[in-house]
Amino acid sequence: MTVGSSAPVTTEDAPPKRPPGRWGLVGNRVLRVRELSVLVVVIVLIVYFGLANSAFFTSSNIQNVADFFSSVAIIATGEVFLLVCGEIDLSAGMTFALVPVIMVSLNGEDGEGMPLWLSLLISLIFAAVIGAFNGVVSQYLRLPSFITTLGTLYILHGISLTIAGSTPLPAPEDGLLPKIFGGWTWAELTWTVVIVIVMQIVLTQTRWGAHTIATGANALGAAESGIRVRQIKIRAFVLTSVLAGLAGVLDGTHIAKSFDPNAGGSDLMFSAIAAAVIGGTALLGGSGTVVGAALGALLLAVLQDGFNIQGISATTFVIVEGAAILIAMTLNVYFTRFRARAKVE
């Protein structure tokens, strides 16, 4: 092989010529700022509605915001884990409705059945079984989770209606347990904040979180590294169902003092997925943050409540929610391309 006089020089210069990672760093920063940008939008909205309407900062209104925010944020936390590892759960809103219905059925409408704590425990275990079913069917029968959970969505809704007979069941109110699980004014919000913080730490600081990201970003590579990809995914399904069931118990106990078999549903599930996407979680897996999803949920909550007290109809809110998702998705795609380009250069 003949080597020209300039050839060795270029070989030597090759690595420094490319500033490795600079684009990656910028990309990272912008992404982090993006999580921050959701926060900025939320703050702007809060300030706007606070100035526009004196009713916004009353404690009853703040509670309204907190109520909507909480159930969406809790379910979104689970969906973030699923989306990050490349799956989705469309049935979460129905699990939300079914789990408290099962709890009341076990406990008895007048508390004549099992003790409340046992009913709660069993109903949450049932939620875990729903998640395990979603996970096992999609992983071992190789059905896309979109299809699996679309099926369970209808099945769970049907079971709720069958058990409750289409009418709301009264939520237990006596004793400490109902107070902890939603009875106390700020119980639901406290649960939400704790769940969001804990799961954010799990996603970013533990092996489970790292393997969830690895599974979603490169399932084959993760498997080649010995990560049990199916197990990671099934775990995310179980997490989502348990959180959805817990949110159902908290929400019914807190707001209506009753459990409606038609509560939650697909609206709530889509709001949770919207919150995750607005918060920067990639729909195709590999990245996402729980805190981002919580901010997304807060954004939706403030918007809905603000429109409400301003007297703008709820239908307008639906349009805005749709627009927010489109904008968030566009940004998501844009940033993915941005990072892909940075990789090529």
């Binding site: 090759a14 990656g24 080649e224 010995g226």
Partner: protein
């Protein structure tokens, strides 16, 4: 085609560190490996060469526990073992650089270097220690990467490959399986990795199977070379007893045979071009 061997496993002086005996692998009606036997002694570097689709990657995936053989067995230090998963293989001291590198684009360099063997205290990842380790490994190899916090997606092909190699080399591995670790590398980066393999060879503790397409590289760092063709080992010689020319000849014969079988090829091509 006759099998040319200069030694048989039975007369090998030492017990091989890793050995595949009569391993076959079928995917449905496709046979990827047919009765393959191969061995690597302790501290030996074996070069595994062969055409695309000859079954090299399949053999590696069996030896690393990612796939299970249809027939045959794998022995470590003469003991038959079942490698049911990558985890089991890793427990036996087998580390692998897969052809697709098995990197996670959305995780930083230091996390990729510790993928699925993350140091922890309690449930929490020891990120500081991982960053320090990552820096030390990369400096030790001599690969330049600006920050170990960079996402792997932002790195060049050679840097990515270096991370995959570093991940398997800086471990307690007794057996390293390297599936084309130099494919995406420039001459300089490739040289760094070859130096690393030579270093391990001098230490004599680790047994290595190196899959490569560049025969010169094979002769530079390997003690012995095996040629895999159509799922069968067709040559097993020490690198000192064969030459690049012999290997090229063996492989070229394949092409020539393929050409002879299809003398009519290209007639339609000519006709259609004349019409156009």
């Amino acid at each position: 085609m006759s099998i040319q061997t200069d030694q048989t496993p039975n007369t090998a002086p030492a017990v091989p560190a890793i050995e595949a005996r009569h391993v076959s692998k079928s995917f449905g009606s496709v046979t990827a490996l047919r009765d393959v036997s191969l061995h690597v002694d302790k501290g030996e570097v074996l070069g595994l060469i062969g055409d695309n689709g000859a079954g090299k990657s399949t053999l590696i995936k069996i030896l690393t526990g990612f796939q299970q053989p249809t027939r045959g067995e794998v022995l470590l230090d003469g003991q038959p073992v079942t490698l049911g998963s990558v985890r089991q293989a890793r427990d036996h001291g087998i580390e692998t650089v897969f052809q697709d590198l098995a990197l996670i684009d959305t995780l930083p360099v230091y996390m990729n270097l510790h993928l699925n063997k993350e140091p922890r205290s309690g449930p929490f990842l020891r990120k500081r220690r991982m960053r320090l380790n990552a820096r030390r490994y990369l400096d030790d190899i001599g690969i330049r990467i600006a920050s170990v916090n960079d996402e792997v997606a932002s790195l060049s092909g050679g840097q990515r490959q270096a991370i995959a190699v570093a991940r398997s080399v800086y471990s307690n591995a007794r057996i390293l399986l390297l599936d084309e670790p130099l494919a995406a590398m420039g001459a300089k980066e490739g040289g760094i990795i070859l130096d690393l393999i030579s270093l391990l060879r001098e230490q004599g503790e680790v047994s290595i199977i190196l899959i490569a397409h560049n025969y010169t590289q094979v002769f530079d760092v390997c003690d012995r070379v095996n040629l895999l063709q159509h799922g069968e080992i067709t040559l097993d010689k020490k690198t000192t007893e064969t030459s690049v020319e012999e290997l090229l000849d063996l492989v070229a014969n394949e092409y020539r045979r393929g050409g002879a079988l299809a003398g009519d090829r290209g007639r339609l091509l000519n006709e259609s071009r004349e019409l156009g």
